[in-house]
Symmetry: C2
Subunit: 305 residues, 2 copies
């Protein structure tokens, strides 16, 4: 799947992933109205609204980008109907041949991590049969529990040619609270990065590892260091746009080959029609605004090479 | 909810939580057979089997213990039918007046953490109405992203009188890989513990905070230190029994008042009938074996006071 991600990035010339993190407040009124008319103001109604919202965006961007990143929290907040909308979104994106990076930030130990891995990236045994519960292509994973938490994911990934992105340096303001603390003169994120590089050796694709890392666009100096620490790991970069990361700050996240990073934008694309810049599209044509914002982002990032 | 947890511990005289982490391999054949007869060897069949398995155990232990801790990964591995079984289990335990600690180890930033918090501990707004998606009493939360990841949970907890347990020192062998690394002479887990104490001040119950911590039974020396660092935080202690933690090692996790900790056992109770000690119950009476194992665990822990 890492090979597919690389080849799709090369084909689209867009190291860009669209974050499908729908808030109900992003969904234009004509969609929520229709969903509530059918299901009422219920969890099912909300789930239908975000699913229809997503579908409109995916239909308008699937030919431009290699991948999408649905953030499961935004679905989980609507309980079981929300999770059903998540699964529908994942399935639909895969139909459109998009690589699906599930932003689930799971992480536990031993058989529990195996269960998460099996549910999201593998197949679970039920009697004599086996089933893929969610079947995404990549998942984000939290490293706080150490190798016991990561290795079960890698084992499942090996069997299924799937991959993970391990949180190394997150994009938020207080990420430094623990991640930047110095250990023998080195920040924790760097030590985690070194482990990502080691874990990555266990499951290599053609040129990059199936074990990638999350490093926020908001910390380019750290991106530069981490790029060198994990030369074979793809870096998933959140924080571009709405969170303040800029294109010029992104160059250090890429290798000399122009690969090695994929930049996420969520709000900046899916809620583009709410920005002054794209306001002319109007809520009815929100998905066209998303398409234009995607094109603009691809151009912006291309400008750094 | 922390006050309810404390008063239920005092009433049952059992600082014990039963981990509802069903593996399909734990479920006796008569239950899987019936479930597969109804739903086939499908995800629905697996979900029905673990739900019926759980129900049998809950019916046999609800009067003995204050709380249960379902591990969502064990349900999530079965996709949407698994999540439905999780929700059924949560609802059933609440009907039985058990405090439900959802072991979800979620953690993200800003509005994403809010979404998790709202989904599991609060209510989500849908038009003019609001709904609780999962509605557990407590959730476990991962601290790697710092205060930005934790505060949204605390805000939702304040509104809903719910609580969290933040991962501080986990019970697994490789937990030390990052958690034990020294920062200015102090291990990372201690620094996280200090933050837990600070976060805890923001949301106090009568005698304990709504912000607790997870500290594994497998590291009693660290438990001793962390007890002092976080005097007002309840400690959720995994790793007793199957993972090697012993009752005598548990004393340091408790305060002088005999409170301040709640000890989890999962496999040791729910799969008790598979142990030689409880084999006489047989698979048909697996839930009686679980009851006996719970009684034995309560006695074992009482012996340290």
């Amino acid at each position: 799947m890492i090979n597919k991600l690389v080849s799709k990035i090369q084909k689209t010339n867009a190291p860009v992933v669209v974050g499908l993190d729908p808030m109900l407040s992003y969904v234009p009124e004509h969609i929520t109205k229709a969903a509530f008319a059918e299901y009422g103001e219920t969890l099912e109604g909300a789930a239908e609204a975000i699913w229809q919202f997503n579908k409109g965006i995916v239909d308008n961007i699937y030919d431009l980008v290699p991948a999408v990143k649905p953030q499961i929290a935004m679905y989980e907040q609507f309980g079981i109907p929300g999770i059903i909308a998540f699964k529908k979104t994942v399935d639909y994106c895969k139909e459109k041949d998009l690589v699906v990076i599930a932003d689930i930030k799971r992480g536990d130990i031993g058989s529990t991590s195996t269960a998460y891995a099996v549910g999201h990236l593998g197949k679970v045994q039920v009697g004599s049969k086996s089933y893929a519960g969610f079947d995404e292509d990549f998942a984000t994973v939290n490293p706080y529990l150490g190798s016991d938490g990561i290795k079960p994911f890698i084992d499942v990934c090996k069997e299924n040619k799937k991959g993970i992105f391990v949180l190394v340096k997150t994009s938020n303001p207080s990420s430094g609270e623990f991640q930047d603390r110095l250990i023998d003169g080195k920040p924790l994120y760097e030590i985690v990065g070194e482990q990502v590089a080691k874990w990555g050796e266990e499951h290599m694709g053609d040129s990059y590892s199936y074990v990638g890392a999350v490093v926020g666009a908001t910390y380019p100096e750290m991106g530069k260091v981490l790029r060198k620490v994990m030369p074979k790991s793809f870096i998933l970069v959140p924080g571009y746009g709405a969170q303040g990361g800029t294109a010029e700050g992104l160059r250090p996240y890429f290798n000399e080959d122009g690969l090695g990073a994929i930049v996420n934008s969520s709000r900046g694309i899916i809620a583009a029609y709410k920005q002054e810049k794209y306001a002319q599209f109007g809520p009815e044509n929100y998905a066209d605004a998303s398409r234009q914002a995607t094109i603009d982002m691809i151009e912006d990032i291309a400008s750094i090479f």
